[in-house]
Symmetry: C2
């Protein structure tokens, strides 16, 4: 058994290593982890797929498929007849990559001990799978909003009014779940707009959805507990749950939303993470029957439903749907929202509506673990909402985004032409910040994503949001922050890229 | 075996339940958890210490000591001859405590399933041990700074200058470790003032020390890994590490700082959390010999040292000491600081200086897990520092705090009188935001803390900062934000409380 086989076998032997996922995925993850941790250094020759399959007791097809994915993503290179080699990650990252210094540092410092990776297992995992920092904003990144429409002057005026009062208590940490006037304003907004059943006591202001999810994972689940997530799934929820060492159990999503099967019901989740208003990323709206079923299952399983209502404000036709939380008679739903999409990302204010039984523990733990602050910003935001600017702003950007969506759709459809209408389709729901261009199953959407990037276009392959095969193929195309002229220009470019892949 | 014995035995059987800590502590934690989760309801009669000792295979002394601590903290009450009963937590919390509604909610909702606690094990633990939300600010809370001296007008001017530019990119999330000009300003400040070896690439801006610690725990340690912490220890570090499911190994602190013994060296930490400039809470400064030893041990153990330099700016005589990080030739130290103490708590900006090998992974994970923002605030802060206002402000509040410290010391000493000078002493280091009034070993400092609270004084018992006996007795008294007239008035009251306990 070669060193590489040995290494991968060790990783795969860990019970917690992507447990529950297909072998192909687990092998792929193991190799990626070993490469990122420099256990498999650049230039290392990997065993042949035949040898590796034998060493790891896997089907050869499984190994070949994992190798293929690694090769697609640049982790390994292979030349016909000579074998497969670990790629040089430093070459993938032209900037001075400190990870390449790790080995040297260890040679110097740890002469007496066995060299070890600088990061923990979860640390290596978190960084290996991170979406990575954002560089220049390019057209069509899904999920981005256009915050150039943020009313700078108005906000500055409200902010100055708060600061002029020089209330030093607003410089302190935020306790008791956040600034009361802001919690009142949010409660009023949610009651009217989102049919959320809410008393101000149930509102907890966090510094955004990441922090809301983190708090739920820490307070409602233990290490090794299972969380049901939609498949495909919002990447941030996945990352936060993984960082809290939960076991993710992907549940299929169909045209009615999350679709529980017998194999799902055989597991016992502590958390069920869903995006019922507008499934991320497919855009599907969860049907009423499924909502009722999910609430029922949550009661029977004694699980908590985390309803992430991340962009329901952006519904371009008709009224936004009522929340799942509004249907919940049994207090099993934690509802969460954010101001990042509507106002601006860096505001770092989100909120949760928690069942009464959780209100006090959540407030205590939030204060203890995260020490929230930014009361001056919370005060300005409270005024912004209660004086009506918030709904005005939503109306304004909803119009802008709706028009951009329609322009992008028309641009793409015109380029696709009639001959492709059977093979390429555009998600039809009239909401959100992105659309999904759905592609035939045999199309390699990851390759298309890369091809698009070469034209300066950032779209995301639908298949990468899946935890479990079979992944549907498609591209997520964000339109909200792209100006009309760019939508037309880059829309045509994007259509050409897509057609080159479908042809 | 009684139900209560059974319940506690189950908790103690968990390998991860406060593993490594003394049996007395584990039993105490188990009982507290069971009480908070309502598994041991109010009024439940506990088995006698003799029976419990037999059922749990513990020494009877161990059980008695755990009972005593529970009784001291109000979790159980005992009446002579009739036994020990679980106290009513609702009575301890006169406000509408949602935890008392939990049982009712479950009766309604989960008729088909066994009732379960709403929180996870770690969630229950986090909330049970939380310092709790802060209500009215009372004199002498340790660690609080006086942010009424914050230059509101100046800050507003800098803030408006930033907002007037209406740079929409400053509304986005903060990637790449934070706003570059702020990272440059911090690097310059740390080099000059704190002898920290730092390049701007090594600086990562977080939303404060809680978030810095959380990131270190997630990236550098796995579930069940050991973290060495000082004993006594800063509570927030403890909470954050526990929430990340690390095993805390307390290391004794003596007059030279953290004092490693053979039993400590027998464990293998991944993290070593220290406050070398000004040990929290004792105020001890780590000696140079100990610093060298610790760096050496970190290399041999392949562990990371987390140096929390939380308040070194507040040194009233002489220059602040150089940082531990400045001595580190092997890149084993993560240095962390915060602006919460110097500027204002709610600003939510802290920073880490990480070794080069960690810089890129930390930036990636920070962006992925926490999505930092507040670039507008970061920009205003960068100007505040680079235009010299920061050092001016430090000088100003350092004078104010130094004078308050001296006034409090004089007030207490005058009240204590000569007859107590042998029994009560005041920590002598001239720095920080609090002093420690050291008390004889037989004094119940927790009782004194409660007594002081009845006079409207919030001090903290030194013994509660210890993870492991023998705890030293004393009171932490914060003076930084208390105005001189209040220092004299409440100082006399506090002295009377202390004398009543020592007499």
């Amino acid at each position: 058994m070669s060193l590489a086989s040995d290494l991968l076998a060790n990783l795969l032997a860990r019970a917690d290593f992507f447990s529950g996922l297909p072998q192909q995925r687990r092998l792929y993850e193991a190799a990626k982890t070993a490469i990122h941790q420099h256990h498999l250094g650049a230039g290392t020759k990997l065993p042949s797929s035949r040898d590796l399959a034998r060493d790891l007791c896997l089907a050869r097809n499984t190994v070949v498929a994992a190798f293929e994915q690694l090769s697609n993503e640049g982790y390994v290179t292979s030349s016909l007849g000579s074998g497969t080699y670990v790629a040089d990650l430093a070459e993938l990252k032209p900037i001075d990559d400190p990870r390449t210094q790790i080995d040297n540092a260890e040679v110097v410092t740890s002469s007496e001990v066995a060299p070890a990776a600088p990061l923990s297992r979860r640390g290596a995992h978190i960084t290996a799978f991170a979406a990575g920092p954002r560089f220049e904003i390019q057209p069509f990144v899904p999920g981005d909003a256009d915050f150039t429409h943020f009313p700078f002057k108005l906000w500055q005026r409200l902010q100055n009014r708060v600061w002029r009062e020089a209330r030093s208590e607003l410089l302190d940490y935020a306790d008791a779940g956040g600034f009361l006037p802001l919690r009142l304003a949010i409660a009023e907004y949610l009651r009217v707009s989102r049919s959320v059943r809410v008393a101000v006591e149930n509102i907890v202001i966090t510094s955004g959805t990441h922090q809301s999810l983190d708090l739920c994972a820490q307070l409602l689940a233990d290490v090794g507990d299972t969380a049901w997530v939609e498949d495909p799934c919002y990447w941030a929820a996945r990352r936060v749950f993984e960082a809290c060492d939960l076991v993710l159990h992907p549940v299929k999503v169909d045209a009615e939303g999350i679709a529980l099967a017998a194999e799902d019901l055989a597991t016992d989740p502590r958390l069920i993470y869903v995006t019922p208003s507008h499934q991320y990323p497919t855009g599907v709206v969860m049907s009423l029957a499924r909502r009722r079923e999910l609430l029922d299952v949550a009661v029977r399983k004694n699980a908590w439903i985390l309803e992430d209502d991340y962009d329901s404000e952006f519904r371009y036709t008709g009224r936004p749907l009522a929340s799942l939380q509004g249907l919940d008679a049994d207090d099993r739903v934690v509802y969460m929202g954010t101001f990042s999409k509507i106002l601006y990302p860096g505001i770092k204010i989100g909120y949760m509506v928690v069942p009464s039984a959780l209100a006090e523990p959540f407030k205590i733990a939030l204060y203890d673990l995260q020490r929230p602050g930014q009361l001056m910003v919370q005060a300005a935001l409270a005024d912004f909402i209660s004086e009506g600017h918030f709904t005005t702003h939503i109306r304004k950007i909803r119009q802008i985004y709706g028009a951009r969506r329609e322009l992008l759709r028309k641009t793409l459809v015109a380029q696709f032409g009639a001959q492709f209408s059977q093979r390429v389709s555009i998600s039809s729901e009239e909401s959100g910040l992105h659309m999904v261009v759905e592609l035939p199953d045999q199309v390699d959407d990851v390759a298309l994503e890369k091809l698009a990037a070469e034209s300066g276009i950032s779209v995301k392959a639908l298949s990468t949001y899946y935890l479990k095969a079979p992944a549907r193929r498609g591209l997520l195309v964000g339109y909200a922050y792209v100006t009309p002229d760019k939508i037309v220009y880059y829309g045509k470019l994007l259509a050409a890229v897509i057609l080159s892949g479908v042809r």
